[in-house]
């Protein structure tokens, strides 16, 4: 599992290094000198790192990403489905994972607002409508590998099926808590990826 996760990011870094039209097959090759120098200086300006540290920064950031992912898998926040999404990302859809996750955030926040709106209504009784929102949220959470979010929805669904409003409210708070944690961690992951891509703009620093 650990090797699979790091291999995925190796493919991503190769894809990013190939951005300027040259593929890297290993640490011995680099970009065209003029392009490499331009990229290195851009990356240095954006990250604030001196040129000589850029190569080290990219590797450290990749290690940080792998550690964060490993933690999220260990905590049960994410499951194998997230890896499936990463495997779908390639040159034809290079931002697939972040696009999918952003759609998930957008749709989930609508659904959570709908659920809270329903439960806050004093005269609420439409458990069927709540069940529909919940099923949609569970389906999309499962589809991005949001395991813990999906699992806490199971209790929510059980309370909903028993027409237990108090139980639903408690479950909703738990779902919102897990969702917030997931969102923060995925934002952290994507930020690390952005920084890593900038730092990996050139494989080797340019010697002045």
């Amino acid at each position: 599992m650990e090797r699979e996760k790091t291999d995925i990011f190796s493919r991503e870094s190769q894809r990013e290094s190939g951005r300027k039209g040259k593929q890297l097959s290993g640490r011995g090759e680099g970009l065209e000198p003029q392009v490499a120098e331009e990229t290195a200086r851009e990356s240095s300006a954006k990250t604030g790192l001196p040129l000589w540290m850029l190569g080290l920064g990219a590797d450290r950031l990749r290690a940080d990403m792998n550690r964060l992912l490993a933690l999220l898998f260990h905590q049960g926040v994410l499951d194998e489905q997230f890896l499936q999404l990463q495997q779908l990302q390639d040159e034809t859809s290079p931002n697939f994972v972040s696009e999918v996750v952003n759609i998930y955030f957008h749709e989930s926040e609508k659904l959570l607002r709908n659920l809270r709106g329903l439960l806050m209504d004093r005269e609420f009784s439409d458990y069927k409508k709540m069940g529909i929102h919940l099923n949609q949220f569970m389906g999309s959470s499962s589809s991005i590998g949001a395991k813990r979010v999906r699992n806490v929805c199971v209790a929510f669904r059980a309370a909903s099926e028993q027409n237990n409003r108090a139980g639903c409210l408690r479950a909703l708070e738990l779902v919102e808590h897990e969702y917030c944690y997931l969102k923060n961690k995925l934002h952290e992951l994507f930020q690390l990826e952005q920084q890593r891509v900038l730092a990996a703009g050139v494989r080797y620093p340019i010697q002045n």
């Binding site: 489905q81 495997q87 999309s140 590998g145």
Partner: protein
Amino acid sequence: MGFGKATSSSKAMKIIDTEKKISVLIVEDDPLIQKIHKVMMAKFGTEVQVVANGKEVVDLYRSGASFDLILMDFEMPIMDGFEATKELRSMGVTSMIVGVTSRSQDSEIQAFMKSGLNACYVKPLNAEKVTAVLNELKNN
């Protein structure tokens, strides 16, 4: 978890070698799942189209369209997966129809199967399930 005639297979994504590309219709109202399933099926070398509810797939078939495989969500607005599948079968449609649902209870899945599905899977679809479905399609 899967129900129906489809069998399990290895987790590696395999492109099914056919002379003609398999045509797949994804019937799903959730934009997130539409995107994931579309990219996933395209990765397997199929030709993919997406519609957002059961009525759209019925209208497509009424207009003369046909697909090798339909991936049918259960809960959708306007016409759900159960009604759409029943309608398609009553029209004489013999395409492979595979249910994909968030509902995981046996009773719910069996009920969905009764609409005329060939198989039914609990979300999420993954490479293993897709391989099983496409192999089943190829064998038939």
